[in-house]
Protein backbone atom coordinates (compact mmCIF):
# COMPACT_ATOMS: atom_id res chain seq x y z
CA UNK A 1 0.00 0.00 0.00
CA UNK A 2 1.41 3.40 -0.96
CA UNK A 3 1.54 6.35 1.43
CA UNK A 4 -1.33 7.96 -0.44
CA UNK A 5 -3.47 4.83 -0.16
CA UNK A 6 -2.57 4.41 3.50
CA UNK A 7 -3.46 8.03 4.31
CA UNK A 8 -6.77 7.60 2.55
CA UNK A 9 -7.55 4.32 4.31
CA UNK A 10 -6.81 5.86 7.72
CA UNK A 11 -9.09 8.77 6.84
CA UNK A 12 -11.86 6.41 5.75
CA UNK A 13 -11.58 4.39 8.95
CA UNK A 14 -11.85 7.54 11.03
CA UNK A 15 -14.76 8.79 8.93
CA UNK A 16 -16.58 5.49 9.51
CA UNK A 17 -16.12 5.86 13.28
CA UNK A 18 -17.40 9.41 13.02
CA UNK A 19 -20.45 8.02 11.18
CA UNK A 20 -21.05 5.56 14.04
CA UNK A 21 -20.71 8.34 16.61
CA UNK A 22 -23.07 10.61 14.71
CA UNK A 23 -25.56 7.73 14.75
CA UNK A 24 -25.13 7.37 18.53
CA UNK A 25 -25.77 11.09 18.91
CA UNK A 26 -28.83 10.93 16.65
CA UNK A 27 -30.25 8.07 18.71
CA UNK A 28 -29.72 10.04 21.89
CA UNK A 29 -31.33 13.12 20.33
CA UNK A 30 -34.33 11.05 19.25
CA UNK A 31 -34.99 10.08 22.85
CA UNK A 32 -35.61 13.74 23.66
CA UNK A 33 -33.88 13.29 27.00
CA UNK A 34 -31.08 15.54 28.19
CA UNK A 35 -28.12 13.28 28.78
CA UNK A 36 -24.99 14.36 30.63
CA UNK A 37 -22.82 12.01 28.67
CA UNK A 38 -22.47 10.22 25.34
CA UNK A 39 -20.46 7.05 24.95
CA UNK A 40 -18.77 7.51 21.60
CA UNK A 41 -16.24 5.13 20.11
CA UNK A 42 -12.60 6.04 19.61
CA UNK A 43 -12.14 7.72 16.23
CA UNK A 44 -8.58 6.56 15.67
CA UNK A 45 -7.35 5.13 12.38
CA UNK A 46 -7.18 1.54 13.63
CA UNK A 47 -10.15 -0.30 12.09
CA UNK A 48 -10.11 -2.86 14.92
CA UNK A 49 -10.47 -0.31 17.73
CA UNK A 50 -13.88 0.12 19.35
CA UNK A 51 -12.79 1.57 22.69
CA UNK A 52 -15.39 3.84 24.24
CA UNK A 53 -14.95 7.48 25.26
CA UNK A 54 -17.39 9.31 27.54
CA UNK A 55 -18.01 12.87 26.30
CA UNK A 56 -20.58 15.50 27.09
CA UNK A 57 -22.97 16.47 24.28
CA UNK A 58 -21.34 19.91 24.13
CA UNK A 59 -17.87 18.38 23.84
CA UNK A 60 -19.09 16.22 20.99
CA UNK A 61 -20.72 19.17 19.23
CA UNK A 62 -17.50 21.18 19.56
CA UNK A 63 -15.54 18.30 18.08
CA UNK A 64 -17.83 18.10 15.04
CA UNK A 65 -17.45 21.79 14.25
CA UNK A 66 -14.18 21.06 12.47
CA UNK A 67 -14.08 18.13 10.01
CA UNK A 68 -10.36 17.59 10.57
CA UNK A 69 -10.76 17.02 14.33
CA UNK A 70 -11.34 13.59 15.88
CA UNK A 71 -11.51 12.21 19.43
CA UNK A 72 -9.20 9.32 20.21
CA UNK A 73 -8.23 7.37 23.29
CA UNK A 74 -4.90 8.61 24.71
CA UNK A 75 -2.02 7.15 22.74
CA UNK A 76 -3.97 6.17 19.62
CA UNK A 77 -2.48 8.97 17.50
CA UNK A 78 -0.90 8.19 14.10
CA UNK A 79 1.80 10.85 13.94
CA UNK A 80 2.36 10.61 10.19
CA UNK A 81 -1.13 11.96 9.43
CA UNK A 82 -2.32 13.81 12.56
CA UNK A 83 -1.26 15.78 15.61
CA UNK A 84 -2.65 16.09 19.12
CA UNK A 85 -4.13 19.54 19.80
CA UNK A 86 -5.86 18.91 23.17
CA UNK A 87 -5.69 16.30 25.89
CA UNK A 88 -7.71 15.32 28.92
CA UNK A 89 -7.91 12.16 30.96
CA UNK A 90 -10.65 10.68 28.77
CA UNK A 91 -9.55 11.50 25.25
CA UNK A 92 -7.17 13.40 23.02
CA UNK A 93 -8.39 15.64 20.22
CA UNK A 94 -6.34 15.18 17.08
CA UNK A 95 -6.18 17.36 14.01
CA UNK A 96 -5.28 15.97 10.62
CA UNK A 97 -2.12 17.40 9.11
CA UNK A 98 -2.71 20.05 6.46
CA UNK A 99 -2.26 18.68 2.95
CA UNK A 100 -3.58 15.29 1.96
CA UNK A 101 -4.78 14.06 5.42
CA UNK A 102 -6.86 17.19 6.07
CA UNK A 103 -8.13 17.28 2.51
CA UNK A 104 -9.36 13.68 2.76
CA UNK A 105 -11.06 14.36 6.11
CA UNK A 106 -12.88 17.37 4.68
CA UNK A 107 -13.85 15.48 1.52
CA UNK A 108 -15.28 12.55 3.49
CA UNK A 109 -17.17 14.86 5.84
CA UNK A 110 -18.67 16.72 2.88
CA UNK A 111 -19.64 13.44 1.25
CA UNK A 112 -21.48 12.28 4.37
CA UNK A 113 -23.53 15.45 4.42
CA UNK A 114 -24.39 15.14 0.77
Amino acid sequence: MTDVERTRRIGENEALFRRVNNAVEEINDAREVDLDELEIICECGDPGCVERIPVSPSEYQALRQEPTHFAIRPGHVIASVEQVIARNGRYWTIEKHEGRPARIARELEAREHG
Binding site: L16, V24, G48
Partner: protein, 130 residues
Protein backbone atom coordinates in the same frame (compact mmCIF):
# COMPACT_ATOMS: atom_id res chain seq x y z
CA UNK B 1 -52.29 11.22 20.79
CA UNK B 2 -49.81 10.19 18.11
CA UNK B 3 -48.53 6.64 17.63
CA UNK B 4 -45.15 7.77 18.99
CA UNK B 5 -46.76 9.23 22.12
CA UNK B 6 -48.74 6.04 22.69
CA UNK B 7 -45.66 3.86 22.32
CA UNK B 8 -43.58 6.12 24.56
CA UNK B 9 -46.20 5.97 27.28
CA UNK B 10 -45.71 2.25 27.62
CA UNK B 11 -42.06 1.31 27.20
CA UNK B 12 -42.66 -2.42 27.42
CA UNK B 13 -45.09 -2.88 24.56
CA UNK B 14 -44.01 -4.90 21.54
CA UNK B 15 -44.67 -1.75 19.49
CA UNK B 16 -42.20 0.21 21.59
CA UNK B 17 -39.60 -2.53 21.38
CA UNK B 18 -40.00 -2.86 17.62
CA UNK B 19 -39.81 0.91 17.10
CA UNK B 20 -36.64 1.06 19.18
CA UNK B 21 -35.10 -1.80 17.24
CA UNK B 22 -35.97 -0.09 13.97
CA UNK B 23 -34.19 3.11 15.06
CA UNK B 24 -30.98 1.21 15.74
CA UNK B 25 -31.33 -0.72 12.51
CA UNK B 26 -31.70 2.54 10.60
CA UNK B 27 -28.46 3.76 12.19
CA UNK B 28 -26.68 0.54 11.28
CA UNK B 29 -27.90 0.70 7.69
CA UNK B 30 -26.20 4.08 7.45
CA UNK B 31 -22.99 2.67 8.91
CA UNK B 32 -23.10 -0.26 6.50
CA UNK B 33 -23.67 2.08 3.54
CA UNK B 34 -20.75 4.25 4.62
CA UNK B 35 -18.48 1.22 4.92
CA UNK B 36 -19.52 0.07 1.45
CA UNK B 37 -18.96 3.53 0.01
CA UNK B 38 -15.42 3.58 1.45
CA UNK B 39 -14.88 -0.01 0.30
CA UNK B 40 -14.21 -1.09 3.90
CA UNK B 41 -15.50 -4.54 3.10
CA UNK B 42 -12.76 -6.63 4.69
CA UNK B 43 -12.56 -7.49 8.39
CA UNK B 44 -14.73 -6.35 11.27
CA UNK B 45 -16.83 -3.18 11.23
CA UNK B 46 -18.46 -1.35 14.16
CA UNK B 47 -22.23 -1.59 14.54
CA UNK B 48 -24.57 -0.33 17.25
CA UNK B 49 -26.39 -2.91 19.36
CA UNK B 50 -29.99 -3.33 18.18
CA UNK B 51 -31.36 -4.53 21.51
CA UNK B 52 -34.70 -3.43 22.92
CA UNK B 53 -33.19 -1.16 25.59
CA UNK B 54 -33.67 2.41 24.29
CA UNK B 55 -30.74 3.66 26.42
CA UNK B 56 -28.25 1.21 24.92
CA UNK B 57 -25.64 2.45 22.46
CA UNK B 58 -23.16 -0.40 22.90
CA UNK B 59 -20.98 -1.10 19.89
CA UNK B 60 -19.83 -4.47 18.66
CA UNK B 61 -18.06 -5.65 15.53
CA UNK B 62 -19.34 -7.72 12.64
CA UNK B 63 -18.16 -8.42 9.13
CA UNK B 64 -20.37 -7.03 6.40
CA UNK B 65 -21.27 -10.61 5.50
CA UNK B 66 -22.46 -11.24 9.06
CA UNK B 67 -24.42 -7.99 9.04
CA UNK B 68 -26.04 -8.86 5.72
CA UNK B 69 -26.97 -12.31 7.05
CA UNK B 70 -28.87 -10.64 9.88
CA UNK B 71 -30.48 -8.11 7.55
CA UNK B 72 -31.65 -10.92 5.26
CA UNK B 73 -34.51 -11.48 7.72
CA UNK B 74 -36.50 -8.36 8.73
CA UNK B 75 -37.35 -9.89 12.10
CA UNK B 76 -33.71 -10.55 13.04
CA UNK B 77 -31.69 -8.08 15.09
CA UNK B 78 -28.09 -7.99 16.26
CA UNK B 79 -27.60 -7.71 20.03
CA UNK B 80 -24.44 -7.47 22.10
CA UNK B 81 -24.24 -10.73 24.12
CA UNK B 82 -26.39 -10.46 27.25
CA UNK B 83 -28.62 -7.73 25.81
CA UNK B 84 -31.07 -10.24 24.34
CA UNK B 85 -32.96 -10.31 27.64
CA UNK B 86 -34.35 -6.85 26.85
CA UNK B 87 -36.57 -8.40 24.17
CA UNK B 88 -38.35 -10.34 26.92
CA UNK B 89 -41.07 -12.61 25.54
CA UNK B 90 -41.08 -10.75 22.22
CA UNK B 91 -37.84 -12.29 20.97
CA UNK B 92 -35.97 -15.56 20.76
CA UNK B 93 -32.28 -16.22 20.23
CA UNK B 94 -31.40 -17.67 16.84
CA UNK B 95 -27.61 -17.61 16.97
CA UNK B 96 -24.90 -16.73 19.48
CA UNK B 97 -21.18 -16.12 19.30
CA UNK B 98 -18.72 -14.15 21.40
CA UNK B 99 -19.37 -10.87 19.53
CA UNK B 100 -23.13 -10.85 18.97
CA UNK B 101 -26.46 -12.61 19.36
CA UNK B 102 -29.12 -12.78 16.66
CA UNK B 103 -32.55 -12.19 18.17
CA UNK B 104 -35.67 -12.96 16.16
CA UNK B 105 -38.63 -10.79 17.03
CA UNK B 106 -41.79 -12.85 17.35
CA UNK B 107 -45.54 -12.19 17.44
CA UNK B 108 -46.58 -8.56 17.17
CA UNK B 109 -42.99 -7.36 17.56
CA UNK B 110 -41.97 -9.46 14.55
CA UNK B 111 -44.86 -8.16 12.44
CA UNK B 112 -44.00 -4.56 13.26
CA UNK B 113 -40.32 -5.20 12.57
CA UNK B 114 -41.25 -6.35 9.07
CA UNK B 115 -43.49 -3.32 8.55
CA UNK B 116 -40.71 -0.96 9.60
CA UNK B 117 -37.95 -2.61 7.56
CA UNK B 118 -37.03 -0.24 4.71
CA UNK B 119 -35.59 -3.11 2.69
CA UNK B 120 -38.98 -4.87 2.73
CA UNK B 121 -40.68 -1.68 1.55
CA UNK B 122 -38.08 -1.22 -1.20
CA UNK B 123 -38.48 -4.83 -2.34
CA UNK B 124 -42.27 -4.50 -2.43
CA UNK B 125 -42.02 -1.31 -4.43
CA UNK B 126 -39.61 -2.97 -6.83
CA UNK B 127 -41.94 -5.95 -7.22
CA UNK B 128 -45.00 -3.73 -7.62
CA UNK B 129 -46.69 -4.95 -4.43
CA UNK B 130 -49.38 -2.55 -3.28
Amino acid sequence: MTEADRVNENPTTPERIAANDAAFRHANEGISETAEEYELTEGLLPFICECADPRCTAVTQLTRQEYEEIRSNPAWFMNVPGHEVAAREYGRVRKTNDRYVIVEKIGTAGEIARELDPRVAEAEERDGVA
